[in-house]
């Protein structure tokens, strides 16, 4: 661990230099809001945006990703044998990722990289990626990250944490990957470790104090799954839900996908697409039976998974980092903070 000071005058040059080694991703303003995108040509990451509409999860887990392919041409020796699609796993870096989005990567990792199984697509992308985070000096009104195990200056999942000090960035280099990125940028002005840490602590405390949005998760652990599952409030919570996929797609921790085969001429691709538990199709059986056939069941599933099943299964907190995107983007304003508080305070009436 070390601290580096980066004069903002040298920022563009350093980022440019890093392109010799890295493919860069970062926040870019667009007519549809601010999104995490590949930083083409000389585009710099927008370090001033309040928040991106979509999280950074697509950098490792694209909405549509080719996994395997095969030829259907029977004159080919290896026809109908699926082979892995070539994907570029050269080093990439996400510059300007928010700490809660980086924390989300660690939660998603619990699913894609387990003792029993390693998802090669996600893990190879993860291994190739360096996360350069930007601490949030003034958290927005939707940010409840401190209630969700992250925070405006959280370090989980990050390789470098940057703090914006007006004319300079203070960079806390957290991992070897972070070291390599800072070196590739040519940033070398070392800052005093004790002083820098003190400064960072002050910024963190100030930012955390500015967070106005909270939810209470303290009692979720002690609740029994079935009591929450059978609780009477799900009908009311789900009434307004239109069952779109917005909450799951904007969520940095939602990892579900669907696998599809798509054929064009003689080439068949096996593709995975983001899927959403809000859609009836998510659980539709080939018989036509749907075990999660009503929207109330689907809404319950989403919140139970995030706030109870995940917590019980991994014992690593809830499957939410408090970014507030679902709260902001939900067309009918279903608010996870409210639902969490209802679940957390629920007592079964005998």
């Amino acid at each position: 661990m070390r601290f580096i000071t980066i004069d903002k005058k040298n920022w563009a040059k350093g980022i440019g230099k890093s392109r010799e080694t890295y493919r860069l991703f970062g926040p870019v303003k667009d007519k549809n809001g601010c999104l995490i995108k590949p930083l083409e040509n000389d585009t710099l990451p927008d370090m001033t945006y309040p928040d991106t509409v979509m999280s950074a999860k697509s950098v490792l887990f694209p909405q549509t990703e080719k996994m395997l392919f095969t030829s259907l041409d029977e004159s080919q020796k290896d026809h109908h044998i699926m082979k892995r699609t070539a994907t570029d796993y050269t080093p990439r870096a996400v510059v300007g990722i928010r700490p809660y989005d980086a924390k989300a990567m660690e939660l998603v990792k619990l699913n894609f990289d387990t003792v029993d199984y390693r998802d090669p697509y996600w893990c190879d992308a993860y291994d190739a990626t360096t996360f350069i985070g930007l601490g949030i000096n003034t958290p927005g009104p939707f940010d409840f990250s401190t209630s969700a195990g992250s925070g405006p200056f959280g370090e989980d999942g990050l390789d470098v944490l940057l703090a914006d000090l007006d004319d300079t960035y203070l960079a806390k280099v957290l991992t070897d990957k972070g070291d390599a990125f800072i070196d590739a940028c040519g940033f070398y002005t070392t800052a005093d470790e004790t002083e820098s840490q003190m400064l960072l602590d002050i910024l963190r405390k100030q930012a955390e104090k500015n967070i106005v949005s909270h939810m209470d998760t303290t009692r979720l652990k002690e609740k029994t799954i079935l009591e929450l599952y059978e609780a009477p409030f799900w009908e009311d919570i789900s009434f307004s839900c239109i069952n779109c996929g917005t909450c799951t797609f904007v969520c940095p921790t939602c990892w579900c996908f669907d696998i599809q085969d798509e054929t064009k001429q003689n080439i068949s691709d096996r593709i995975r697409n983001w899927d959403t538990c809000m859609s009836p199709l998510f659980t539709m059986h080939s018989t036509g039976h749907n075990p999660r056939g009503t929207k109330t069941q689907r809404v319950r599933q989403r919140f139970m998974h995030k706030l109870k099943y995940f917590l019980d299964k991994y014992d690593q907190g809830i499957m939410c980092v408090g970014c507030g995107r679902c709260v902001k983007s939900c067309p009918v304003n279903i608010d996870i903070r409210e639902v969490c508080n209802i679940m957390n305070s629920y007592e079964k009436q005998d």
Binding site: L35, I242, C244, G245, T246, D258, T276
Partner: protein
């Protein structure tokens, strides 16, 4: 519109109190600024949760299907037109509904208001035509008329077309010399520019289907994009598949769309989905003199057959 809520609550109270309806479907305040959420009230003690203001941009006709008993619904002009469409299309029976009509002065364009601020909005309030909007960095006082949604600015049916009671006095309807300026602009484009316009429109679509699901017309038990046997459309982010969804959905709505704007309201990516549907509304008006949802005795033109149809091919 600020005072109509008292009348809405009064009417709703009476209906629930006398047991005339099982529930009242309306709007409740949201948890964040400029948000309201559809809600069903079943008890008179919850009457105070009902609100109505310029942020009630969703269409409550979307919430009235598949109820067995009688329900009351709060409906703006466009909502009532979709209720008419529902009745014509046998999605709900007229006598199942108690319609509390709200003469409407338009809903606000939340995206346009948000674009005035660099940071998130933390407070929103309205008093007549005056909107007060606050972020951590600044406060703005705006004229509501300058920040209406485009569909509201072009609206020709602000008053409910069908109702059992009104929540306020009827408002004056506007006449527009050119009700489709946006469509005309696109029509005037060269084919290449037009194509590019629609490519740009859907470029960031995430296929969450919020537009479809917020739309009262989109009630198919299984949407064509969700069919799996046969599967008509690819499910990924391939441009052709994304466009197919938008084009086909628009065509499915031809002659039925009331331009309520719920699709645009719901879209998390701020895509102006109405660019697809408006052209068809205009065509149906030009060809058949038809505006959707004005008369419960008439079927939409693309759903009707007449022996004296002027076109030969259909005979």
């Amino acid at each position: 519109m600020n005072t109509c809520i008292n009348k809405i609550r009064e009417l709703s109270f009476e209906l629930l109190d006398k047991g005339e309806v099982e529930k009242v479907i309306g709007f409740a305040n949201g948890t964040i600024p400029m948000a309201t959420s559809p809600i069903a009230i079943t008890s008179t003690k919850d009457i105070e949760t009902l609100v109505f203001n310029s942020t009630c941009g969703l269409n409550l006709a979307n919430y009235i299907r598949q109820h067995k008993g009688k329900i009351a619904v709060i409906a703006k002009g466009c909502d009532t037109r979709n209720i008419v469409t529902h009745i014509v299309e046998n999605q709900v029976q007229r006598d199942q509904l108690y319609i509390i009509g709200v003469p409407c002065n338009g809903m606000i364009d939340k995206t346009k208001i948000a674009s005035l601020f660099e940071d998130d909005i933390i407070e929103f309030s309205e008093d007549g035509n005056a909107l007060t909007v606050k972020s951590a960095l600044k406060e703005e006082t705006l004229n509501k008329t300058d920040y209406l949604r485009q569909n509201c600015r072009l609206c020709l049916h602000k008053n409910p077309v069908i109702y059992d009671a009104l929540a306020a006095d009827l408002v004056e309807e506007q006449t527009l010399e050119s009700p489709y300026p946006d469509v005309k602009k696109i029509e005037a484009m060269t084919p290449d520019t037009k194509w590019q316009h629609f490519q740009d429109l859907t470029k960031n679509c995430i296929r969450c289907y919020a537009c479809r699901n917020a739309c009262p017309l989109c009630y198919c038990p299984t949407c064509f994009v969700d069919e799996s046997g046969p599967q008509w459309v690819g499910k990924g982010q391939n441009t052709t598949d994304v466009n197919t969804f938008h084009f086909l959905r628009a065509f499915h709505c031809a002659g039925r769309c009331t331009d309520c704007g719920a699709c645009v309201e719901a879209c998390p990516m701020d895509i102006n989905v109405r660019d697809f549907t408006r052209k068809l509304n205009k065509d149906v008006f030009d060809l058949f003199g038809w505006e959707a949802g004005l008369d419960i005795t008439k079927r939409p033109p693309l759903d009707a057959y007449s022996p004296d149809d002027p076109d030969d091919f259909i005979k």
